[in-house]
């Protein structure tokens, strides 16, 4: 009895070694919720025989708070442009070797030229580019302008929401006044704050979470939000009820990027994944699923449906950049907007 017991740990170790040797590669991807279609991920697993573990987060801030506090183990994360700058500054990213990414060449060079947060894309590979816009329920609202000024309309009072996101709202106000989305000029910010306080009187709440559901159920008639969330709530028969547009003045826009973390356990699998995502047919499937404008030129012929808005609509938009310490100015203004009555 004792002899068998003593052999047991040895057996276990032997077993683990055998399993360890035969184990597949593992890849840990940390991405926004609903940002990649499940069938694309399954195809990756089958094609490359890599065990893909896919976790999701609801916002850049939550993801960064975790990584900054020491969470380890992810290979690929998908931060927005301003967070790419921050992560580069904090030394969290591994440089991208473009020679290992043949499909990088498929990305639209016009889009690459607009990238300011990572010159030359040394640490990031663009994934999706988009902006928040305004959705109007056409069955309830007859005449309106395609502008941020819609939030000034008192007749739509308590039927509208804006995003609970200070860069999006203050950025919209700044653009509406003709200033830059990344302005750190106190006078400009004060004027933007005044505009937002005016809008605040007409909106029900600042909501970054349930605006799509509320809009689809008729609770809200005009929302500032993301197209993909809103259209997800609609079946194809009812899509005509919604008018989604990027306002004429432009607004804040973002680019989400695939990055490889410096402490990534398996960089080889990470490169395989990024390359796979940008292969034309795969990327087309993703764009069809999300409805974003397509930044991969080779994928465009494979698209099966029209995106919710085009790259052309984003011409007046500006990327949200990292503001470093000056973010405090926005914080202060946003606090006063949110906490005041």
């Amino acid at each position: 009895m004792k002899k068998t017991l003593r052999c047991l740990p040895l057996l276990l170790v032997a077993l683990l070694c055998v399993c360890g040797g035969a184990r597949r590669q593992k890849l840990y991807v940390y991405n926004w919720t609903y940002y990649m279609p499940p069938d694309v991920l399954d195809d990756f697993r089958k094609k490359f025989n890599i065990d893909l573990v896919y976790d999701v987060y609801p916002s850049n801030e939550d993801m960064f708070a975790k990584l900054k506090s020491g969470a380890k183990g992810y290979d690929i994360v998908v931060p927005s442009g301003d967070f790419v700058s921050i992560m580069i500054h904090e030394g969290m990213l591994a440089p991208i070797d473009k020679k290992r990414l043949p499909n990088f060449a498929c990305i639209d060079t016009a889009v690459l030229r607009r990238v300011t947060f990572d010159q030359g894309n040394q640490f990031s590979v663009p994934y999706m580019m988009g902006a928040s816009g305004i959705a109007v329920n056409k069955t309830q609202v007859a005449r309106y302008e395609h502008s941020w000024s819609i939030f000034d309309r008192a007749d739509l009072k308590d039927r509208m929401t804006m995003l609970d996101d200070m860069r999006e709202v203050l950025g919209a106000a700044l653009k509406y006044l003709g200033y830059s989305v990344n302005s750190v000029d106190t006078a400009e910010l004060a004027k933007a704050k005044a505009v937002v306080l005016g809008w605040k009187k007409n909106i029900v709440k600042f909501d970054a979470e349930s605006f799509a559901k509320g809009f689809a159920s008729g609770e809200f008639r005009v929302v500032q939000g993301y197209a993909e969330n809103i259209f997800k709530e609609y079946d194809s028969t009812r899509r005509d009820e919604v008018d989604f547009f990027i306002p004429a003045e432009g607004g804040p826009m973002y680019m989400d990027n695939l990055v490889i973390l410096k402490n990534a356990p398996d960089k080889e699998a990470a490169y395989a994944f990024i390359n796979y995502i940008h292969s034309p047919e795969v990327f087309a499937r993703i764009v069809d699923y999300l409805g974003y404008p397509c930044i991969n030129t080779a994928a465009r012929p494979f698209l099966k449906r029209k995106p919710n808005y085009e790259l052309a609509d984003l011409r007046n938009c500006e990327f949200k950049e990292d503001l470093g310490e000056k973010l405090e100015l926005y914080n202060r203004a946003w606090e006063e907007i949110r906490m005041g009555n």
Binding site: Y34, D55, V56, K72
Partner: protein, 260 residues
């Protein structure tokens, strides 16, 4: 002459029951709704179909939640019960410190507990995983267990235990054969609350979960910004049905064992 409060308690109970079950009714209705939105458009089983055949992630997350809930609740109940007994009946050097410290996790906002644990794990190099979630859950469950068991001990007639000692019982016997059985309702209540709290938690879990250890509340929370799919409604309804079945089964077993 018995019901000195008359119809008020019954009324309160009915209001409470309605209050509790109204959202559930809504949930059940919408899980059979043909469309995604919150307006009824016809009966359909599509969400159940999607749940059973296309939602492996959800089921894995549920599995992890259950494993953590059970293991952390058992541990918390054990630690907390022993601790409550020790604190309640004895005096020892660090008694005041331990009794206050056991109570504190209740007072702290969850988000701070989550971040502080994350910092601790990062500092000692413990990789985030199901185990770290387990640690966090035991920690926040402890004050509930201690409080509930203590209040049960409050009414415990200590002379029964003294009688046991007088009859020659050793410490272990006194504990297992006298104290624990009498405080069993309190222990069971504490265990149930611990399981409930553990299954629900997402704030603390968010910070201490590692890659690949998503629990059900995390999965749902991450969906919130982007529209919670009605598949979750279907899942909730199934879980509810399962819990009800389990509860009544448990009651039957309990009655069979303890009340011949």
């Amino acid at each position: 002459m018995n019901r000195s409060k008359g119809g008020v308690p019954l009324f309160a109970f009915v209001v409470t029951a309605v209050f509790f079950y109204a959202p559930l009714l809504v949930l059940v209705c919408f899980s059979f709704n043909a469309s995604r939105t919150m307006t009824w458009s016809g009966f359909s089983l599509r969400w159940y179909g999607e749940l059973l055949f296309h939602s492996a992630d959800l089921w894995h997350a549920l599995g992890r939640s259950v494993i953590i809930a059970l293991s952390s609740s058992v541990t918390a109940t054990a630690l907390g019960t022993l601790g409550a007994i020790g604190i309640y009946w004895y005096n020892f050097r660090f008694k005041r410190y331990i009794s206050i410290a056991s109570f504190l996790p209740l007072i702290l906002p969850e988000i701070i507990m989550g971040v502080s644990l994350l910092i601790l794990f990062a500092a000692v190099g413990l990789p985030l995983s199901l185990f770290t979630i387990f640690i966090a859950h035991v920690t926040f469950n402890l004050p509930f267990v201690v409080l509930i068991v203590s209040s049960r001990l409050d009414e415990f007639d200590y002379s029964v235990v003294e009688a046991a000692y007088d009859l020659g019982a050793r410490e272990w016997d006194a504990l297992v054969k006298v104290v624990l059985p009498i405080s069993l309702p309190g222990i069971v209540a504490a265990f149930l609350i611990a399981v409930t709290l553990s299954l629900e938690d997402f704030v603390i879990t968010f910070f201490v979960a590692g890659p690949g250890s998503t629990t059900l509340p995390l999965q749902i929370y991450s969906m919130i910004r982007f529209g919670v799919s009605p598949v979750i409604n279907a899942l909730s309804v199934m879980l509810l049905a399962a819990s009800i079945a389990l509860a009544f089964l448990g009651k039957g077993v309990y009655r069979y064992i303890f009340q011949r």
